[in-house]
């Protein structure tokens, strides 16, 4: 079984180079090697999107990538953010402030069991990043949220509250919404 050297930045910290079995899934790497257990295994076949993490592209734009069906090689040399890395931390590594999406999810009590939450938080964070660069027309906000989060599955059926929380953040953050065309 071949091993490959992997280097990446996870939540702002340099990881590796570390030798890994080439078939190690990103999810296993996060949980077993980095002890980042906030990313959850849901279906394991890339359908439910509970395991989504954030990958930063070369141009700085964010993308949500499923960690269960992608092996570590895809993340080699990339900047990755998991749910543990979204809040603002101080120099000692303590959490200073949750991200706006995290706060809104708490305010709206969007989740019950919490298994799918990391995936929702990450997908919503990616959506906000996109809207910062490409604001959406006011009458397209709901469709846009649906497109971005519609594939995520929540078995406690927290959809309405997830939806409400994300809309709240989009509508209250300046620069994400433009006038309807």
């Amino acid at each position: 079984m071949a091993r490959i050297p992997v280097t990446m930045v996870v939540n702002g910290e340099q990881v590796g180079p570390v030798e890994l079995d080439e078939y190690t899934s990103m999810l296993d790497f996060l949980q077993e090697y980095l002890n980042l257990t906030g990313t959850k295994l849901g279906c394991g076949i890339g359908v439910c999107r509970a395991c989504s993490v954030i990958v930063e592209g070369a141009d700085g734009s964010l993308e949500s990538v499923r960690s269960c069906i992608n092996n570590v090689g895809r993340f080699d040399g990339k900047k990755v953010t998991t749910v543990e890395g979204l809040a603002e931390h101080n120099a000692e590594g303590e959490i200073v402030a949750l991200s706006p999406i995290q706060q809104a999810f708490l305010r709206n009590f969007s989740f019950q069991c919490g298994w799918c939450t990391a995936g929702f938080v990450n997908a919503a964070t990616v959506l906000l990043d996109r809207l910062r660069r490409e604001p959406v027309a006011a009458d397209r906000v709901e469709d846009t949220i649906d497109e971005a989060l519609g594939e995520h599955i929540c078995r406690c059926t927290g959809y309405v509250r997830y939806f409400r929380a994300v809309r709240e953040v989009i509508e209250s953050t300046p620069g994400l919404v433009k006038e309807a065309e």
Binding site: E22, Y23, I45, G46, G57, N70, N71, G73, R74, D76
Partner: protein
């Protein structure tokens, strides 16, 4: 008294049964002819039309074929119906050959009557499809008289001697009702099917409607059992049906009887079951296309399995022995990697998760290396895919908006 009641009941019952069988037969034939696929818009009511067709000459919309008198075919007589199916003559003028009368002209009189009976018994729906948006001179329907004159060759269905009745039935299903050639046969400049290249494959909507001549199918690894699985479930270890072909399975093939599926397969494979042997060379492939192998492991193996052997079919098909990988043309392998595939759902127990498109993340050179790795390792291919080929396919897909749509 009792006798009269019994006699009456028998009469009534007899009539219902007769009516049902005629209706059932028409319904079956309509499934075999896949009418619903074109005459239904996305999320629309079946058979009321409105589905757009993008052609080089502009956009066409399918029409309402429910028996509504104002907007559908309620006023059609059997002769009118026959004229539209056999000659492309609608009550209001020539039909555009997007309506496959160029194949339906082969449908037997008996089947035309059953189809007519079926459509006339559908609930009528009042609906008018959007107007066609065609450029001059294609917008002039009388021009189609000339088109028909030049390109519509009403040659009868070839019925070669020495073929089994099953083969002959398959011939009829494939060429007449199934109108398979409409997608799988290349077209000329005027969008007419090229008879000399019957079933040789054709690019359509950013996919390769593959070569389905017997030798090509056997080369791709399709034997009877794999084709049967593909036609009845939409998926097999040789690959899955996608694009328009998935809809064909969903609306048409999966509703056909076992005998008819067997007939279609017998015709398509011309009675053979001897797939070509493929000598995969995984070691050589790994050596020659190291980046391609690394990308397969990193991007693909999570779903398509270690060494391309698949995990379970409900998840994603194996790449080892996949028809697309074994086939002559690498088009679909490249297009799937760039575009991805939408999720599919046949029923509760048969669905696939869909695939992400990688056109943003993988450049032409990496896609070429990945495709070459797979084709060498598991398809036994000796022709190398050039980076330039990937670039051209990417450019085509981009131009027609297929790369954004899949995201």
């Amino acid at each position: 008294m009792h006798r009269i009641i019994v006699a009456l009941a028998a009469l009534l019952l007899g009539q219902t049964v007769a009516a049902q069988t005629s209706y059932e037969k028409g319904r079956y034939l309509a499934a075999a002819a896949d009418c619903v696929a074109c005459h239904t818009a996305v999320n629309g009511r079946p058979f009321i039309g409105g589905r757009p067709f993008h052609t080089p000459f502009g956009t066409l919309y399918s029409t309402n074929i429910t028996p509504d008198e104002k907007t559908g075919i309620g006023n059609y007589t059997l002769a009118d119906f026959r004229a539209s199916m056999h000659r492309g003559k609608g009550v209001h003028g020539n039909l555009y050959p997007a309506m496959p009368y160029t194949s339906y002209y082969l449908v037997s009189e008996e089947d035309i009557e059953a189809l007519y009976d079926y459509f006339m018994q559908l609930p009528p729906v009042e609906y008018t499809a959007p107007r066609n948006q065609l450029m001059f001179p294609a917008n002039l329907r009388f021009g189609l008289t000339f088109w028909n004159w030049i390109f519509f060759d009403r040659e009868p269905l070839a019925q070669p001697q020495g073929k089994s009745p099953e083969w002959q039935r398959g011939n009829y299903l494939v060429n007449a009702l199934g109108h398979c050639g409409e997608c799988h046969t290349p077209r000329n400049f005027a969008q007419a099917m090229r008879r000399d290249r019957h079933f040789a494959g054709n690019l359509l909507e950013g996919w390769d409607a593959v070569d389905i001549r017997p030798r090509a199918l056997l080369r791709q690894g399709w034997d009877r059992e794999h084709l049967r699985q593909l036609f009845t479930t939409g998926a097999s270890d040789r690959g899955t049906a996608f694009g328009e072909m998935f809809r064909v399975v969903e609306h048409s093939l999966s509703h056909l009887s076992g005998d008819d599926i067997n007939a279609i397969i017998t015709y398509l494979l011309d009675g053979s079951d001897e797939t070509s042997r493929v000598e995969g060379q995984p070691e050589l492939a790994a050596e020659r296309y190291a980046q391609g192998r690394a990308d397969f492991v990193a991007y693909c193996a999570g779903c398509h399995g270690r060494e391309g052997r698949g995990i379970v079919l409900d998840f994603a098909p194996p790449m080892d022995g996949n028809a697309g990988i074994r086939g002559q043309s690498p088009y679909n392998t490249i297009a799937v990697i760039l575009r991805g595939l939408p999720a599919q759902r046949m029923d509760r127990n048969n669905a696939r998760a869909g695939m992400q498109g990688f056109h943003r993340e993988l450049d032409d050179a990496r896609v070429a290396a990945l495709v070459n790795f797979m084709r060498t390792a598991w398809g036994g291919s000796k022709d190398e895919v050039k980076v330039q080929e990937v670039a051209e396919i990417r450019h085509q897909l981009q131009e027609h908006g297929y790369l954004e749509a899949a995201q």
